[in-house]
């Protein structure tokens, strides 16, 4: 059995916090099977800035787990990691999520390192850049991702498309090379749920904020960069105009430090609606209460924009809804929704088509009996395939005998170019170039030389 240092995220599903995050769920998905296999795990968990404080050594329901909450700055302090490790002597390092993987890549030393890249970071960067209309996010995400590509010994992705994209990203860094030809560098670890059906403890909105006979369309979770809230809003308005029983209930909200634009924009749209009293916007609610909302709702809704983030990623919240047997109305973009649609387990509508969404809502509202039956089939399907145990085979196998890849090269190391300057000196020179090219003299220079001095490489110079 191995001692595994795990860098992940909180809150974990068993913590009853108001803010639940997908990285926290993913952390638990990977850790729990490792614990069941008898490994000892020390979890260094990053918590969102706005989450409730979690005491060090928080209690966990699993034997063999020690949890230490950390912040982004914790490991920057000299000697921080040895202090956190204490007597724990890890045989391997596992990290999940962008920030944890980046921190782990820097702290991994010679430990075998499994990087769980949970969603394609560069596609997420594009989605964020588009939302913020600022491409610096692309470089910012790349700065965190590249060290992970260069350092990881094994990788996992959340979908088959992401596995291939990750292979492409690794290939550009020289990580797919002769020395590891024939080796599977990237494994798919699909999202999963604990496999325990939700039971109602109390009513969340039925009989209070919505009527017994209302048709409740539920959104749960963060309003992320990929969410097409305009289509969602217009589709709901379409349905509300035609059926007074249609209500929208939302748990979740903006994602601090990641997307603080989408949700407020959606709220602005709702404030201007003639049906605004039919939108029940609950914000983030405690984890233990969320399931009551699922059980009160008639259908869960997921609305994607077309983005590579969605093509390569996974809408994990759908699996959460399955535990409540909540039927799903969704766009079809990620591998999970493609699969569920192919199996006839969800109701689908085209991306960016509010009228189609509205009509789907009306159709489902008129056919609640078959909708419930679909929810039951959905739950059975998910519980038979997307469990922690069924999805984590590759990492469990690796954890039993973790190893470092024998030849870790990079495209840079294959380059004949070498520099005498330190990174700081190179940065100073690149800054000098940038300042020079931003100057009025340079613009005059270009005008006088007819742009002949401009690099012939397209897109290299602004």
């Amino acid at each position: 059995m191995s001692a595994i240092l795990f860098m992940g995220a909180g809150p974990l599903p068993f913590e009853n916090t108001r803010r639940f995050s997908a990285p926290g769920g993913r952390t638990w998905q990977l850790i729990r099977p490792l614990l069941k296999d008898g490994h000892r795990v020390l979890l260094l968990a990053l918590y969102p800035r706005d989450s409730e404080p979690v005491p060090a050594g928080a209690a966990s329901p699993e034997k063999g787990l020690t949890c230490r909450p950390i912040t982004r700055d914790t490991l920057r302090a000299p000697g921080a990691l040895p202090s956190l490790l204490g007597e724990f002597r890890p045989d391997a390092l596992v990290a999940t999520g962008a920030e944890s993987c980046c921190i782990a890549a820097g702290a991994s030393g010679e430990l075998p390192f499994w990087a769980d890249v949970f969603g394609d970071l560069l596609a997420e960067a594009q989605a964020k850049a588009a939302r913020c209309e600022d491409d610096h996010w692309v470089a910012s995400f790349w700065s965190r991702f590249r060290p992970v590509l260069l350092r990881g010994d094994r990788f996992s992705a959340v979908s088959t498309p992401q596995k291939y994209a990750l292979l492409g990203e690794l290939a550009t860094q020289g990580r797919v090379n002769a020395a590891n030809a024939g080796t599977e560098l990237v494994h798919v670890v699909h999202s999963a749920v604990p496999g325990i059906p939700y039971r109602r403890e109390s009513r969340a909105v039925r009989g209070s904020k919505v009527g017994e006979g209302d048709f409740v369309v539920l959104w749960s979770g963060g309003y992320n960069t990929w969410a097409d809230t305009e289509t969602l809003f217009l589709g709901l308005e379409y349905a509300m105009e035609r059926n007074p029983a249609v209500k929208f209930v939302s748990t979740g909200g903006e994602i601090r430090d990641h997307d603080e634009v989408t949700y407020p924009r959606f709220l602005d749209r709702i404030r201007g609606s003639p049906h605004r009293e039919r939108y029940v916007m609950e914000g983030w609610v405690p984890r233990e209460r969320v399931k009551d909302y699922f059980l009160d709702a008639d259908v869960g809704i997921n609305v994607d924009r077309f983005l590579y983030e969605g093509v390569l990623g996974c809408r994990t919240r759908l699996l959460d809804w399955a535990a409540a047997g909540l039927p799903v109305l969704t766009t079809v973009l990620c591998e999970l929704t493609v699969t569920l649609d192919r199996e006839g387990l969800v109701t689908a509508f085209p991306i960016g088509d509010p009228a189609a969404l509205g009509k789907s809502i009306l159709s489902l509202a008129g056919n609640r009996g078959s909708l419930r039956a679909m929810g039951q089939r959905f739950r059975e399907y998910v519980f038979s395939r997307f469990t922690y145990e069924a999805t984590t085979g590759p990492i469990r196998q690796w954890a039993a005998a973790p190893f470092v890849v024998d030849h870790r090269t990079s495209m840079d190391s294959l380059s004949p170019l070498r520099f005498d300057e330190s990174p700081e000196e190179l940065k100073a020179k690149l800054d000098e170039l940038r300042a020079l090219k931003a100057s009025r003299a340079y613009r005059l220079f270009l005008a006088l030389t007819g742009g002949a001095a401009r690099s012939g490489r397209r897109g290299m110079i602004r």
Binding site: E169, L312, E432, M460
Partner: protein
């Protein structure tokens, strides 16, 4: 309708005693498909010296599509310009690593569609070629993924791989979010037939009004941190800095601007 220069590989399927050659078949597949759409096509096929057939083709056309052949070893933008003569393309299509990298270097101002039937980086591994060769092919391939506006591949797995490769070059950015950059065009079952139906529709649609894909600057330009750049990028920037600092004209202009700013109290 557009004038499209297709830079691909020989042997094309109609060449005498030519064995079926995937890049050649792919070149012809695109040429036939776009010619059928009413576009004016010129095919330039790169020929390996080993083929022993040399250059030529002036005046040759097949199925109404004019074709030229150049030796791959002599292929350069200048040479290609001479071969094209008076044909002034509106857009370029590059087929395969050699064809697409030449197309990317030939006229960087023109819209470029690159077709990559097979990933060059993974093929290098498959062929058990040296790591040095891998680096050479990477430099060619990087020119393509930085320069091409839209791309096509032959399988869905390769499509995802290419999306990942594009992403590392900063090609997935705010300006083109929500746009499909990579299309899957499977090869015809017999390797020769013109692809029809929806698979090849995107390239025909693009050819009807070829345009550049909006993009950010390259990843290298999004940051000044050297550890985010690869060595070739850093070397190129240092060369550029040296060249600019070595320019008497620019030095003079800087001095003039400095003096003017001193006199007027203005900024740079």
């Amino acid at each position: 309708m557009a004038r499209i220069l297709i830079i691909g590989e020989s042997p094309l399927p109609f060449e005498e005693s030519a064995p079926l050659h995937a890049p050649g078949a792919r070149t012809w597949q695109f040429a036939k498909h776009l010619s059928g759409g009413g576009n004016e096509i010129l095919v330039v096929a790169l020929r390996g010296r080993a083929a022993g057939r040399g250059e030529g083709g002036a005046g040759l056309s097949h199925d109404g599509i004019p074709c030229r052949f150049i030796e791959a070893e002599r292929a350069s933008p200048d040479h290609l310009r001479g071969v094209c003569g008076l044909f002034a393309p509106d857009a370029l299509i590059g087929i395969g690593l050699a064809g697409a990298s030449l197309a990317a270097a030939f006229r960087p101002d023109l819209p470029l569609w690159a077709d990559m039937d097979g990933d060059p980086l993974f093929e290098t591994i498959l062929r058990k070629e040296s790591d040095g060769r891998l680096h050479d092919r990477w430099l060619m391939f990087r020119t393509i993924i930085r320069g091409a506006d839209l791309l096509s591949v032959s399988s869905s797995a390769q499509r995802y791989i290419l999306i990942g490769e594009l992403a590392t070059q900063g090609r997935l950015c705010a300006k083109n979010a929500g746009r499909e950059l990579v299309f899957c065009i499977p090869p015809p079952a017999d390797g020769l037939s013109v692809q029809s139906g929806t698979d090849a529709a995107p390239v025909r649609q693009w050819a009807s009004s070829p345009c550049r894909t909006e993009r950010s600057v390259a990843m290298a330009e999004l940051t000044v941190l050297p550890w985010l750049l690869d060595r070739e990028d850093i070397a190129a920037k240092l060369d550029e800095l040296r060249a600019l600092k070595g320019s008497r004209l620019l030095r003079a202009l800087l001095a003039v601007v400095r003096v003017k700013n001193t006199l007027t109290g203005g900024g740079a």
